[in-house]
């Protein structure tokens, strides 16, 4: 390397802090403050990746978020990130990056051959080609997947940690360029809360890239001064390295703050923070993206946006080329020529599309001895893997073709500028309209319902002076809108304030042949969409922008068409002979830039993934080997295997122990609702299907509640504790929704009923002792409750002392055995449980889990809401006619008489006994009445619960079958993939039909 590509002075890099990094295995060096792109350029590397479809060599095209080409795979192993823009990666020590889409290397890519076959890869190629034969897709897909794609995902879990943060602010300013800074400074004179964010690590935006002067200070100096003023103000929060990715309802803005790079070995440091900021007023100062020109072979490495060249030169002190040609349609791009010239970089020529370039900046350029060719265009680029030479011709009168002699200029960098596009993305997220400004052909923000003020370049005011003025005015305005008062100040001023001449928009730059014939005019470089593709789509009848976008994939790559959308739309409009405004724009949707899944998940991973609810006895279960079942958010013991016991053996042991001696169950998770008030019974009457007026104090009753459509919603036992005092239990999963249901009816329909509800689910630990020895065991623990069957029959409740705790004891059984549900204060649950287990040792007391509970209740034909019911099942379907009162109204009653609900061929609950006692039907298995050779076989129902019953010594199941009540004794079949299980339809009561055990 002859001369260094890094300037010895200037820029926002720290030359004292070299940073080592690797690119495609090459050891390289940059400086602190570099991006990967600037460091690569400083090392003379332009060629970064291959394109998505044609695998053409691609270089660094832009300097920021809009970069379509320079995509890399960052890092390896679990931290690897796909499709990251080299222009957005802050350089850090040890960084490892690899080119995307290249094999074996970007310079020599085997798939580059695809470019030679570009005729077979037109727009809509996939849709047209792979439609037949139909079986062929599997093969096509395999090949396409290997060729396409923009990198790969990590295979291991992400070892990094991410943070979340919510914030509220009066004023949120997005963007810290000249307009954002001016707005923040002005607003900061009030006492409003302000948050200002920028995606870069330094505030200043475009001021750091351009050679401008504000209030006689250089751009970077002025920005630094404002930044320090803001930093000293406690009302102002500054977020750097933070990208606002989405604008949501009611002024909620989602942002990602990058806290560290993906560096290994930084312990406990969180990598990114997801911000959710609720603002009263939002100032959008996102700036603008420079617009590329669509000319022949405009994708060659070495073609770069003119503004990006200034960024690399002024902000990173990098010379991106030695001999530079510029191809422009506006005055602003001449700043690039002037800046390059000032640093001694040769500017070979400026090709200007305009008939005349007579503005201040072009004149200054000419006066510095740089050749300016007016009314001309680049018609070809020579150099496949890097620009070597350009071909230039004069434009015809209408600018649609070229004429005259070809001229050639040697160069290694082409700076292009087709004007600027306001970044209206966040505005657009709010459903905000955009307005086409015909003069210069840009979309500017229009109406929005959110509290937004768009200012500066993102509102279409491109000059520095107007940005500053906009910011200052917006600052004043948002202070007023948020109800604060501001001070009298003056707007900052662009010291030079050079006037500029209008742009000339030519959407497809003509070349010798029609676009697409010999060469390619790229519009969307990341998705390899060319002007010819859009022309083809238009010829094939595509009229709407939205359709064309999907057909050609224009603007659908990870850069979301930041540079390509407007030229693409303009080209379509031109072909259709319409105004751009008439064909509309596509809607930008969040996210503005890609967001990692890790940031969205934040701390909610692993143990914190979702709240885990633990019962008071949780750790007894855990230390006694419980296998957990997730029931809602609760962890409930599923079964307690001993040593190498299988689940089936463990459940069988638990079942038999409970049937033969005593089992102990943690039922704390059941919902418990305390109901008080003189109208409690009336309220229960309206909610439950059965009668509640005649329930005596000290008694319990089972109830079913329906939704208004007549379908079962929940069930449980409610006990009368006092004159106006009831305790309702609900299923574990419905505890919250049943309470909400009661409150809803109470508040909205029956506000005059005097009744209050209070959740006491968490107040009590509930321990169920079940089995023939339950009474004997419990007797050891209480002196003041007579547990005798005569004194304390089933479905009654007593209060007293159990094991030293005040207790409510209910004789409620879900197993069919004599059972006691003992409720004590939650903090005492663990103690009482352990004492029961110790004292019950002589009876072989056995803790059982939900699986055993399910088997035992199914043997008794008891339903489980959510298992036997699915929102389409009435109590009649369940054979529970006895629970439906005929002489009162209740929620859902009228629906039971609807023709559909009263049909007698509805699915009804029955029992199933497989002919083979060892076969266990799969739950959800479909039932047919007859096997036949032709499909489909009519399905008559499904299996809802299915188990092996240790006490019956056989398998059994519950099922819902059409007209099931009439099918008792019939044979039905459950066809499975490999075999068919034949069963007999029976009653759904399998064990102790007379209920002697329960009442004993």
């Amino acid at each position: 390397m002859s001369r260094p590509l890094r300037l010895s002075l200037g820029g926002a890099i720290d030359r004292k802090k070299p940073v080592n990094f690797q690119f495609n295995g090459r050891q390289l060096c940059g400086y602190k403050g570099d991006t990967l792109a600037s460091a690569l350029l400083a090392n003379g590397i332009h060629l970064v990746s291959r394109s998505f479809k044609y695998h053409r060599p691609r270089g660094i095209f832009a300097s920021g978020t809009e970069e379509p080409n320079a995509l890399v795979q960052l890092e390896v192993g679990p931290r690897t990130l796909a499709s990251h823009q080299a222009t957005k990666i802050k350089l850090y020590e040890g960084l490892k990056a690899f080119s995307a889409n290249c094999w074996p290397s970007p310079a020599f890519d085997l798939l580059g051959i695809l470019g030679f076959f570009h005729r077979i890869l037109p727009a809509g190629f996939y849709y047209k080609t792979f439609m037949w034969p139909r079986w062929g897709w599997k093969i096509y897909e395999y090949l396409i997947r290997h060729i396409a794609g923009l990198g790969y995902c990590p295979r291991q879990p992400d070892p990094d940690r991410y943070d979340h943060m919510n914030a509220h602010t009066d004023i949120l300013i997005i963007g810290s360029g000249p307009s954002g800074l001016a707005a923040a400074i002005e607003a900061s004179h009030s006492s409003a809360r302000i948050i200002i964010v920028d995606e870069n690590s330094k505030f200043g935006g475009r001021l750091l890239s351009d050679n401008s002067k504000i209030n006689n200070k250089s751009g970077p100096d002025w920005a630094a001064q404002q930044e320090s003023i803001l930093a000293s103000n406690p009302n102002v929060k500054m977020l750097r390295n933070t990208t606002a990715f989405g604008y949501y309802d009611h002024n909620l803005i989602g942002m990602i703050e990058n806290l560290t790079g993906p560096i290994t070995g930084v312990k406990d440091k969180k990598r990114q923070r997801l911000w959710k900021i609720r603002a009263k007023q939002v100032v959008l100062a996102q700036g603008a993206f420079e617009r590329p020109l669509v000319f022949s072979d405009n994708d060659r490495p070495g073609v770069m946006l003119a503004g990006a060249i200034r960024t690399f030169l002024n902000k990173y002190a990098v010379i991106p080329g030695r001999r530079v040609a510029l191809f422009v349609n506006n005055d602003d791009a001449y700043r690039t020529a002037l800046d390059l010239n000032a640093h001694g970089v040769e500017v070979v020529v400026v090709i200007d599309l305009r008939k005349e370039a007579t503005g201040v900046l072009p004149n200054r350029t000419i006066s510095e001895g740089i050749e300016v060719v007016e009314d001309a265009a680049i018609t070809g680029v020579i150099g496949k893997s890097h620009v070597k030479k350009i071909e230039v011709m004069m434009l015809s009168e209408d600018g649609k073709s070229v004429q005259g002699e070809k001229r050639f200029f040697d160069c290694d960098l082409i700076g292009i500028s087709g004007g600027w596009n306001p970044a209206v993305h966040l505005h657009s997220h709010t459903n905000g309209k955009t307005v086409w400004r015909k003069d210069d052909g840009v979309f500017i923000p229009g109406k929005t319902l959110q509290n937004i003020i768009s200012i500066g370049a993102c509102s279409g005011n491109f000059s520095l002076q107007s940005c500053l003025k906009d910011g200052w005015t917006a600052g004043k305005k948002v202070v007023k809108l948020t109800g604060f008062s501001s001070k009298k100040t003056n707007s900052p001023k662009d010291t030079e304030n050079i006037p500029e001449q209008p742009w000339r928009n030519i959407w497809i730059i003509p070349s010798n042949a029609p676009a697409g014939q010999n060469d390619k005019h790229f519009v969307d470089q990341q998705h390899d969409v060319t002007a010819a593709d859009i022309q083809l789509a238009a010829r094939e009848g595509y009229q709407s922008v939205e359709h064309t976008k999907r057909y050609t994939t224009l603007g659908m790559a990870t850069d979301q068409g930041k540079t390509s959308n407007i030229p693409g739309h303009a080209i379509l409009a031109e072909i259709l002979g319409k105004e751009v405004s008439a064909i509309g724009t596509t809607t930008f949707r969040p996210p503005y830039t890609p967001v990692t899944i890790g940031a969205l998940a934040g701390p909610y991973t692993g143990l914190l993934f979702a709240p885990i609810r633990r019962s008071p006895m949780h750790y007894w279960h855990e230390s006694n080997g419980a296998i957990w079942e997730d029931v809602g958010e609760w962890k409930r013991p599923w079964y307690y295997p001993k040593r190498n016991e299988s689940m089936r053996d463990a459940v069988a042991r638990e079942c038999l122990a409970t049937r033969n001696s005593v089992g102990i169950l943690d039922a704390s998770t059941l919902g418990k609702i305390d109901i008080q008030g003189p109208d409690s019974a009336e309220f229960l009457n309206r909610i439950y299907t059965n009668n509640w007026e005649n329930l005596e104090i000290g008694c319990c009753r089972y109830g079913i509640m329906l939704r208004e459509d007549g379908m079962v919603m929940d069930d449980g036992v409610t006990s009368r504790l006092g004159k106006n005092h009831y305790l309702m239990t609900t299923t574990t999963g419905n505890a919250a929704s049943v309470l909400a249901w009661l409150e809803e009816w109470s508040q909205t329909e029956w506000p005059t009923l005097k009744v209050y509800f209070t959740s006491v689910t968490e107040q009590y630990a509930t321990i169920t002792l079940s089995g023939p020895n339950a009474r004997l065991l419990l007797e050891e623990f209480t002196n003041d409750i007579d547990l005798g069957g005569g004194a304390f029959p089933a479905m009654q409740y007593r209060e007293g002392t159990v094991g030293g705790f005040r207790a409510r004891v209910f004789r409620i059984s879900f197993t069919g055995e004599c059972a006691f549900e003992i409720n004590v204060q939650a903090s005492g649950g663990a103690n009482l449980w352990a004492n029961f287990v110790n004292a019950g040792e002589k009876y072989g007391i056995t803790p059982y889990g939900t699986e055993t509970m399910h088997v035992l209740r199914a043997e008794k034909g008891y339903i489980i809401v959510g298992q036997e019911t699915d929102g389409t099942v009435t109590p009649y379907d369940l054979g529970m006619n006895w629970i439906i009162s005929k002489n009162k109204d209740f929620i859902g009653r009228r629906s039971l008489n609807r023709p559909d609900t009263a049909r007698d061929d509805r699915k009804q609950l029955v029992g199933l006994l497989p002919n083979d006692k060892t076969e266990i039907l799969p739950e959800g298995g479909q039932i047919v009445s007859q096997l036949q050779a032709t499909y489909p076989i009519p399905m008559i129902g499904h299996v809802t619960s299915s188990y092996h019953s240790p006490i019956l010594g056989r398998s059994f199941a519950l099922a819902l079958i059409k007209g099931g009540k009439k099918r008792l004794g019939q044979t039905v079949h459950v066809p499975l993939v490999e075999r068919t299980i034949t069963c007999q339809v029976t009653s759904h009561l399998f064990y102790d039909k007379e209920g002697h055990r329960l009442n004993g």
Binding site: Y248, D249, H250, L252, K276, R278, N431, L449, E708, D709, A740, E743, E744, Q747, T748, E749, P751, D889, R893, R894, S895, N897, R898, P899
Partner: protein
């Protein structure tokens, strides 16, 4: 994520609330007197308004009170919040 102004607790994030669907649907006082069609209309039929929609919300993770809101279903603007037993403000209805 909307900001909903609970009539008791003030502005809170939507995540604290539960939507209860269309407001002002009164449960018939004598369901048995209704035809199947009339009953089905009460149970199943709801408006699907484009524009201002009167709906019920419950501040389920807060004070657990039900209230009514007039929300524009196109823009999500909330034009009014009023108590559960109140009629919509005149300018809305």
């Amino acid at each position: 994520m909307l900001v909903i102004e609970c009539p008791w607790c003030g502005p809170r994030s939507e995540e604290e609330f539960t939507n209860g669907g269309e407001a002002h649907i009164k449960r018939p006082s004598k369901p048995s007197a209704l035809s199947d069609e009339e009953w089905a209309d009460y149970v199943f039929m709801r408006k699907n308004t484009k524009g201002i929609f009167l709906e019920r919300w419950s501040h389920s993770s807060g004070c657990r009170r039900w209230f009514n809101a007039a929300r524009n279903t196109i823009t999500n603007e909330i034009a009014a919040i009023y108590h559960i037993n109140e009629k919509p403000p005149k300018e809305i209805s």
